[in-house]
Symmetry: C2
Subunit: 185 residues, 2 copies
């Protein structure tokens, strides 16, 4: 199985948090050109922040796509010039919750949506988190912090309480690290 050869790209629109372009690719199956719409966005980072009391630092915030209030982990967009998710993670954690902790560590990564988005989402683990700073919200943010016992994570995932797939993935990365995925490793 191979990548489809690239024919041409064309920028179409700029919507601030993402740009839309068209990509024309050559289908190896049909031999014909096929055009797709692609969203360009900077990389995203989600943070699994754990306190010394086995709590997960979570954030509740309004999400405009779903028009719902979602329970998520802290996270955000890598700033221009920021190339290391281990820099973005602690910054977003501090800005959104005021918490800070020990050295950040990369837990995993996925594409944000390989069908339509060009970017990657990283999961960063920060342990030993304590409330140390004031929060610093972006103008489009209004965030409430919750501490949730780590033992409740599987129930949160199973119940559907976690509506953001990239947050689900971040928590799954953490369960897999802890060997709680059923394969005994």
């Amino acid at each position: 199985m191979q990548r489809w050869p690239h024919i041409r790209s064309k920028p179409l629109a700029d919507f601030r948090i993402f740009k839309v372009r068209s990509d024309v690719k050559l289908s190896p199956r049909t031999g014909k050109e096929h055009d797709f719409f692609v969203l360009e966005a900077p990389n995203w980072v989600n943070v699994v922040a754990v306190t010394p009391r086995d709590e997960l630092v979570m954030v509740e915030q309004y999400r405009v796509g779903s028009d719902t209030v979602e329970l998520e982990v802290p996270g955000g967009v890598m700033d221009p010039g920021e190339t290391d998710p281990l820099v973005t993670g602690p910054r977003e954690l501090r800005e959104e919750t005021g918490y800070a902790g020990g050295p950040p560590r990369l837990l995993g990564k996925v594409f944000s949506n390989p069908a339509i988005l060009t970017n990657t989402t990283f999961t960063v683990l920060i342990e030993g988190c304590e409330l140390k700073h004031a929060t610093d919200f972006d103008s489009g943010e209004d965030i409430r912090t919750h501490l949730v016992p780590l033992a409740e994570i599987p129930a949160l995932l199973r119940s559907g309480r976690i509506g953001h797939p990239l947050v689900h993935v971040a928590l799954s990365h953490y369960l897999l690290l802890r060997g709680e995925s059923g394969d005994g490793k």
Copy 2:
């Protein structure tokens, strides 16, 4: 925590698989209007298809956003007029792989991305799957089927081999159903 009151929406562009609109909402924190860009898309369905030999039916396909070949579960967009993911799931499984099985069952759902997308992604479980039909690809598809032992799912998730977050979520939903998430339920 509350939803932000809606002020107005404005359609901006139609890119076939999604439309872009702007939504202006009132921030409860600042009392000011804030505008967001939102992607409208039909709901998506992913299928955890299992054979009587404890294999998962997976598909390998080129993804234009990431420009990579991804190992995924079968799935796709709910057709116009299709309102039941339990109809979409078996149809997509048949079209993409030729497999069909027993009665479909809803395993879970998440928003596709509540920050920017309006739609929902459902995970549907179909057991007892066997190869019964010819495949029927869309013009933009070229799909290869793989049978993967169920026992390999945690390693697939841990290794990063699964790059699509909604596929990661689908497999996590299945592990959670089987009680393989570490909380003993």
